[in-house]
């Protein structure tokens, strides 16, 4: 029973990171119907920037803030410079370009920082918390991970739901033609979507790196799990991305915990299994059902 609680809590903590990546993919998908394969690479790069800032200033929070800002800038610049010219052309062009961007960023990180694993500091203590004498399997740092992503997701949800800018983004995502005819500058909305996605990716990178170490490929597997979470939730649904992330995080944590020493090697297989099962019963993801697209 104690084990179950521990696996669940640590699964939630990791799941929130998958959720952050999934959310960033959903933001871009809704605006441009495009999967950004460079999302993980961008997150890795902004985390290196954070590490530099922390080293020079000695302040974790300075690095944290700069990483998020860098994510916003990197997302917007990527959209304006390499994605904008591909809009309206075959979708494969943009997909190949995001893969190219990933290779570029990973190569650049290798040249600038080398390939070795670097440790990345956590915001809070990584010593396990206890309830009485029972270890909970999570630390203050893990709690911070969950709270930070949840706060970001809630802020986004509130922004989407209650502000004019959010309404513009939803209108542009659901029906770009009507949005443009109503005077909404859809191109600008798409850039903002990429910037927000960059911010979420940067957040995920900073939050996950204390447990994974930082190296040029360190976000690859996180990206794959985040992508899986986004597909499970239905690529169109921000709420689905969060639920998909949590589901995947907890399932992978159980697999790693209960299947013994082989468990951690099996996580990718378990993720694939969940994906296959979900898509068999809900081909468009868990949260797709209520939507009416064609009328």
């Amino acid at each position: 029973m104690v084990e179950f609680l521990q696996f669940t809590l640590s699964g939630i903590s990791f799941g929130m990171i998958y959720a952050a990546i999934a959310l960033s993919l959903v933001l871009i998908w809704r605006g441009t119907r495009l999967l950004n394969f460079a999302q993980g690479g961008m997150a890795m790069f902004t985390t290196y920037i954070a590490l530099e800032v922390i080293r020079h200033t000695g302040s974790y929070w300075a690095g944290f803030a700069v990483a998020l800002a860098a994510g916003v800038v990197l997302g917007a610049v990527a959209e304006l410079v390499v994605i904008r010219p591909t809009l309206g052309k075959p979708e494969l062009n943009a997909v190949i370009i995001t893969i190219g961007l990933l290779i570029l960023l990973e190569g650049l990180a290798g040249i600038l920082y080398g390939g070795q694993y670097r440790s990345f500091p956590a915001a809070f203590s990584v010593i396990g918390l206890k309830a009485g004498s029972t270890p909970l399997g999570v630390s203050r740092a893990d709690v911070f991970v969950a709270v930070a992503v949840l706060a970001a997701a809630l802020l986004l949800a509130i922004g989407f739901r209650y502000t004019s800018a959010g309404l513009r983004m939803r209108a542009a995502a659901f029906n770009a033609t009507v949005a443009r005819l109503s005077g909404i500058r859809v191109a600008r909305v798409i850039t903002v979507g990429w910037a927000l996605a960059g911010l979420l990716g940067a957040l995920a990178g900073v939050l996950v790196s204390p447990s994974t170490f930082l190296y040029p490929n360190s976000m690859d597997s996180i990206f794959v799990f985040g992508f899986t979470a986004a597909v499970i939730g239905g690529l169109d649904s921000p709420a689905g991305a969060v639920v998909g992330g949590l589901l995947l995080g907890v399932a992978l944590s159980y697999a790693g915990g209960y299947l013994g020493s082989q468990g951690s090697d099996l996580t990718a297989l378990v993720a694939l299994g969940i994906l296959v099962v979900v898509l068999m019963f809900r081909p468009n993801g868990i949260f797709s059902g209520a939507r009416v697209r064609r009328v």
């Binding site: 309404l167 513009r168 939803r170 659901f174 005819l181 109503s182 005077g183 909404i184 939507r291 009416v292």
Partner: protein, 258 residues
């Protein structure tokens, strides 16, 4: 900056201004196909112009070229005498042209109220005009009481007639000077169609909006229009008073099928 907002603010304060719309020698098409071949039409301020013709005559393309959805190859689109051809739809909307495309006007995933709020996105300095936004919504609900009852529902739950009302209401919230309507009666029951046509007449007479109406139902369109334009294979083959067109038996038989 402040002077610009001030000038635009006064323009937005009027509920609806009028503007004439002139299209001169407009050429537009898709790839090799020329859909509009030197089309010229004139719509005086606060009048209704019916654009008629068979399928493929170029009616929808004409509206799309006016609203910027299709970039014209040549020709001019004059709004109150100022040429705006070649601008994108965002700019056209901000200049006061509202285009209601055929059958796809509502955003089904948004609520009725959110759809109406989309109509305000062309307002200059919208963020600072909270009271005006509330007033515009109240006005829309007063005119379209059906929508008031359903403001928190998803637009997907509306019937065909209610959707058409929502689309027209949204176009009005934008306070356009020119309203382009593409087949507003398509797929509606006859009684609902009559309501929509009545609404179109009131928009022109009471609000002074210049209306360009594309319709398959030529008889119904000519009954409410001031002028009519008949297109055939991308060219204007007749342009006259609506009454004169309706009385021209040979033309009716040849191009309009009634």
């Amino acid at each position: 900056m402040s002077s610009a907002t001030g000038a635009q603010g006064t323009q937005g304060d009027q509920s609806h201004g009028s503007a004439s719309l002139e299209v001169e020698d407009l050429v537009a098409g898709y790839g090799e196909v020329v859909a509009l071949d030197r089309v010229t039409i004139t719509a005086d301020a606060a009048t209704i112009t019916a654009v008629l013709g068979a399928n493929g005559a170029g009616k929808t393309t004409l509206l799309r070229a006016i609203s910027g959805m299709v970039r014209p190859r040549s020709g001019r689109v004059l709004l109150d005498g100022a040429d705006r051809a070649g601008r994108g739809p965002e700019d056209m909307a901000r200049a006061g042209i509202a285009h209601v495309p055929e059958g796809q006007g509502v955003i089904a995933e948004l609520t009725v109220e959110e759809n109406l709020r989309i109509g305000m996105m062309s307002w200059p300095g919208i963020a600072w005009r909270r009271a005006e936004r509330a007033a515009a919504l109240a006005e829309a609900y007063e005119r379209f009481t059906v929508l008031a009852d359903r403001r928190r529902r998803l637009a997907a739950t509306l019937s065909g007639g209610e959707r058409q009302m929502l689309v027209i209401a949204r176009a009005l919230v934008a306070r356009p000077r020119v309203l382009l309507l593409d087949e507003p009666s398509l797929g509606l029951a006859p009684r609902v169609m009559t309501q929509v046509m009545d609404m179109v007449v009131r928009l022109s007479r009471e609000n002074g909006i210049t209306i360009v109406l594309v319709e398959q139902n030529a008889r119904a369109a000519l009954a409410i229009a001031d002028r009519g334009v008949v297109l055939n294979l991308g060219r204007v083959v007749a342009a006259a008073e609506a009454r004169a067109l309706a009385a021209d038996v040979a033309l009716r038989h040849h191009y309009l099928g009634f």
